[in-house]
């Protein structure tokens, strides 16, 4: 097991699924204890996997996983499919609205297994 795998508490709710369920350079959605988490897979980046809450706080719908991923001024982002605001994949920060932020979660790949925890990573 890697260090990353050990760093979350055994009691954190998690989702485990196959790498083949991911979509290269795009997002999918997983459900963990009724929390919707958008998971993005950028195979050439490091880290290669990012997990954000799926709720678009500006568009007010569960759609972030359907956005286009890319980068803006070097920051990895997903663009909301509704109104195109950018959310940082690393911090959840909205680039257009300073006060808006979506939760980001721990995510990692070991071999063919993907693990997402509801442990949110704090960036403030």
């Amino acid at each position: 097991m890697t260090n990353a795998a050990l760093s979350h508490s055994p009691f954190d709710p998690i989702a485990i699924f196959d790498r083949s369920d991911l979509q290269e350079n795009a997002g999918v959605c997983v459900l963990i204890n009724d929390v919707q988490v958008a998971v993005f897979y950028l195979p050439k980046e490091s880290p290669s996997i990012f997990a954000l809450h799926n709720w678009d706080p500006l568009g007010k719908a569960n759609v972030l996983y359907r956005g286009i991923v890319g980068d803006l001024n070097g920051e990895r982002v997903v663009a909301s499919p509704l109104y195109k605001q950018h959310f940082s994949l690393d911090t959840g920060r909205c680039l257009e609205e300073e006060s808006v932020c979506v939760p980001v979660y721990e995510a990692f790949i070991e071999g063919e297994t993907v693990t997402i925890t509801l442990q949110s990573r704090c960036h403030k």
Binding site: A15, D21, A61, R66, I68, D71, P81, L82
Partner: protein, 843 residues
């Protein structure tokens, strides 16, 4: 030196603005703000939006945490009840004392309730705070009819709120017209008839004498003219009165009819006390708008700095949307200003059919604009306001400014003419000079100027003016306006198209490696995706293409506001058999979809969850339907009239031609959507002249029209070629479309594209008809390749299990998105509004 203690009484919009600005100063102050309302400042201007679905929280301008972060002590829900000027402290209701060195009164105003007997009844309310909204909503539940007393700006806002609550809405106004302060008689009359069309009943010249218990409804209003009106609730919105009691008790000078008197430093009669916003009286006037309040706050704040500014009064011009109707008023809208004892001249354009009223008031010599009234169309407001505020010279025939523009009298307004003192953004008070300075300091794009000057970050109404100012300034400096696609590609779409074609590139990664940098973004990915599709017409959901597609292309359906999708099967030419209609009906019924006929003669099915799309499409494909590409930048529909098979006047078979054209070009990806239509005779029932390419039958063949569109900026198509036979018609359309696909910019419709072609329509004819560039064969061959590779994307998708995985809501669960909730309206589902959802999910 001790830090100065600043106490701000009142946390409305102006009080908040002052606090924010002060906290941002370099000089340190100890700032305390005390608000009587239980919550921090919120946007009162957009209060009525709470009834059209906005969350009260969305109106918040700040939070307690934010004040903490910027070092401001904030106390809410505890009103200041007295000022002890001798000891320089204020005392609150709860008995707390706050010492001050400088005191800022931003206590705002309260709604005026006329002293009519019975106006204290429980169902008589006012409209000013979020709490008022709660009371109105609660009372509205108990009845069916609501009355707003007051036909001014706020009263009509409030009428909108009552209407949104589903009440039969009346407006009762004492004066003979609506918005008498801002509008002249004609404008007011136009506004009234437009409001009445929205089923809001307007009663003017009505003085309410008393309010008594009603028979059929809760209350009965009795008017001086003997009439009466029964209602379940009354909202008073008959003007505002300044909240000046606190100042009055403290012995500050108060105006005869209320208001704390201030000088042009916003100082009251006590030099340590300032008053700003609607509680303040300057030059005998109360300024009941937000922008002047902000200017007062700026002036008051500057008195604590080394460079004090003064408040000189403010322009009360205003532009707003009332019940969805555009209304604008500038300067002296009534034409009462005398210049050298001479009466001003007025010019009037009134159009009852289009519902537009425009009036300008001009100085007697015809040189300067004194005022304007606009109802139904505010598109001239920005130009007129600039002419007015900057005292600019009018053109020789001022009436041309408000007459509908055509090529003959176009008065295109150039940002170059504006003086540098001209205000571009009135929310944040940014002048043209500020923008020029930002460009001199190195800004080269609108985005950079925005972030440097903050222009256009308020209401955003000045966005177009800002862009033209920036573009003109840059052009004047010889800066080439950047047409780079985005930060990842330093090329225009046309350049990229050429490079991808010549290099025979087939993947985004190849294109990015060769010609770009970074990871890409939501601008360049779909653009490259579209170019790849236009060139090679591959299945767009192949794994390497899928991440490039915009949301709608990505799921082959149109995303709606709640994250569900709408589905549009192709119905070529708008012709559909009874059996197929039944299938659509059955599918809609089975999956509880909302159905609506589109403008393109097909049927849109709304409310499908992402995981239902494949199943629904299996049924549609089974029945012989194909995807309609409503989600794509592609050919949408080819409308038709029935033509000579049925119609007495038809001269050609327009339906057959429309079906042929639609099937020929369906699925072709282009820079923007493309629409078409075929009419069977010159009566033009298919509206072909409003399309990117339109075909109209003649006795001898077909006339081809190009580059029209409807939508935001409608444009009639131009006649391109006449009396064509079938084969020539198709040949020309092939060439025309392919040339557009090759050379247009991203998201550029054909009309804009043609306007930007040097030589315009004539040049286009030379390329397409005369083959001046020697391209015709290549364009036709390219088109043939695309036609050859057509596939129904939905058919391909449902046959591939690997692709279907994409349509799962969750990869690890079969549950649905619980946020998607529908309610029934007119026997069909629609997405629940915020409050309906709350009610449904908590029930």
């Amino acid at each position: 030196m001790n830090t100065k203690k600043i106490v701000v009484v009142g946390n409305g919009m102006v009080g908040h603005y002052y606090v924010e600005k002060m906290a941002a100063l370099e000089q340190a102050f100890e700032i305390t703000v005390i608000g009587a309302e239980p919550r921090p400042a919120y946007d009162r201007v957009h209060l009525s939006e709470v009834f059209s679905g906005k969350d009260p929280e969305d109106l918040a301008l700040t939070t307690r945490e934010h004040y903490k972060q910027i070092g401001v002590q904030a106390h809410f829900g505890d009103a200041v009840v007295s000022i002890d000027r001798e000891n320089k402290e204020v005392i609150t209701e709860l008995g707390r004392h706050f010492a001050y060195d400088k005191l800022i009164l931003a206590t705002g105003s309260y709604p005026f309730v006329p002293p009519v007997p019975g106006s204290d009844a429980k169902a008589c309310l006012t409209y000013r705070t979020i709490d008022d909204l709660g009371a109105i909503r609660a009372q509205a539940r108990l009845g069916k009819v609501g009355v707003v007393v007051g036909g001014g700006l706020l009263g009509l806002e409030c009428a909108n709120a009552l209407k949104n609550l589903g009440l039969e809405t009346h407006v009762v106004e004492f004066a003979p017209g609506l918005m008498g302060v801002q509008l002249d008689e004609g404008g007011s009359g136009m506004l009234r008839s437009m409001i009445e069309e929205l089923n809001v009943q307007v009663h003017t010249s009505k003085a309410t004498q008393k309010i008594v218990a009603g028979k059929e409804h809760t209350l009965r209003m009795e008017f001086a003219d003997g009439g009466a009106l029964e209602t379940d609730l009354i909202v008073f919105s008959a003007g505002i009165r300044p909240n000046d009691q606190l100042a009055k008790q403290a012995g500050l000078e108060i105006g005869e009819r209320g208001g704390i008197i201030i000088d042009y430093h916003c100082r009251t009669s006590d030099s340590n006390i300032f008053a700003i916003g609607e509680c303040a009286l300057f030059g005998g006037k109360i300024f009941g708008l937000v922008a002047p309040g902000y200017r007062m706050a700026d002036a008051a704040l500057s008195q604590l700095s080394d460079s004090p500014q003064s408040f000189q009064g403010a322009d009360m011009s205003t532009k707003l949307k009332l019940l969805g109707i555009d209304v604008g008023s500038i300067g002296d809208s009534h034409g009462k200003t005398l210049v050298d004892d001479k009466v001003p001249a007025s010019f009037l354009y009134s159009n009852d059919r289009e519902r537009v009223y425009k009036k300008i008031v001009v100085s007697p010599d015809g040189k300067k604009l004194l005022g304007a009234v606009l109802v139904g169309d505010c598109s001239d407001y920005d130009n007129l306001l600039q002419l007015y505020l900057n005292d600019m010279d009018l053109p020789e025939n001022p009436e041309h400014i408000i007459l509908p523009a055509d090529d003959a009298n176009s008065t295109a307004f150039s940002a170059m003419q504006l003086p540098s003192t001209a205000t571009i953004c009135s929310c944040l008070n940014v002048t043209k000079g500020d923008i020029v300075a930002a460009i001199d300091a190195g800004c080269t794009t609108v985005a950079e100027v925005k972030s440097s000057t903050k222009a256009s970050t308020g209401c955003g109404g000045c966005a177009a003016l800002l862009k033209s100012t920036v573009d003109t300034e840059l052009a004047a400096r010889g800066v080439e306006i950047n047409n780079h696609l985005c930060e990842h590609f330093a090329y225009s779409r046309q350049d990229l198209f050429h490079m991808i074609k010549v290099g025979r590139l087939e993947h985004f990664d190849e294109v990015l490696n060769k010609h770009g940098s970074g990871l890409g973004c939501e601008v360049c990915k779909p653009t490259v995706g579209s170019i790849l599709a236009s060139l090679w017409n591959d299945y767009i959901l192949k794994p390497q293409h899928l991440p490039l597609q915009d949301t709608n292309d990505n799921f082959l359906a149109n995303m709606q506001k709640d994250g569900t999708y709408s589905i549009v099967p192709r119905i070529p030419g708008g012709e559909i058999s009874a059996d197929k209609l039944i299938v659509i009906g059955e599918v809609a019924k089975k999956y509880s979809l909302y159905t609506k006929i589109t403008g393109g003669q097909r049927i849109d099915l709304f409310g499908a969850r992402v995981n239902q799309l494949p199943e629904i499409w299996s049924e549609l494909v089974e029945a012989g339907f194909e995807t309609g590409h409503a989600y794509g930048k592609a050919l949408r529909t080819v409308k038709s009239c029935v033509g000579n098979s049925w119609c007495r006047y038809g001269v050609q078979d327009s339906v057959s031609m429309a079906i042929y054209i639609e099937n020929r070009y369906k699925g072709i990806r282009s820079p923007h959507k493309i629409k078409s239509a075929v009419s069977g005779c010159t009566r033009e029932c298919a509206e072909a002249q409003s399309k990117d390419f339109g075909v109209i039958a003649t006795e001898n063949g077909w006339n081809l029209y190009v580059c029209g569109n409807g939508g935001m900026k409608p444009r009639h198509a131009d006649l391109f070629a006449t009396d064509l036979d079938d084969a020539t018609l198709i040949k020309y359309i092939d060439r025309f479309l392919m040339f557009y696909i090759r050379t247009a910019d991203r998201l550029q419709r054909t009309s804009v594209w043609m306007n930007n072609l040097e030589g315009g329509l004539d040049y286009l004819r030379e390329v397409v008809i005369d083959d001046k560039l020697g391209l015709a064969e290549e364009l036709e061959a390219q088109m043939a390749l695309l036609l050859d590779k057509y596939q129904c994307e939905w058919k391909t998708t449902i046959e591939d299990p690997e692709r279907l995985k994409r349509f799962r809501q969750f990869v690890n669960s079969d549950k649905d998105d619980s946020h998607i909730v529908f309610v029934q309206e007119r026997d069909q589902p629609r997405p629940a509004k915020e409050q309906e959802r709350d009610a449904l999910t908590t029930a």
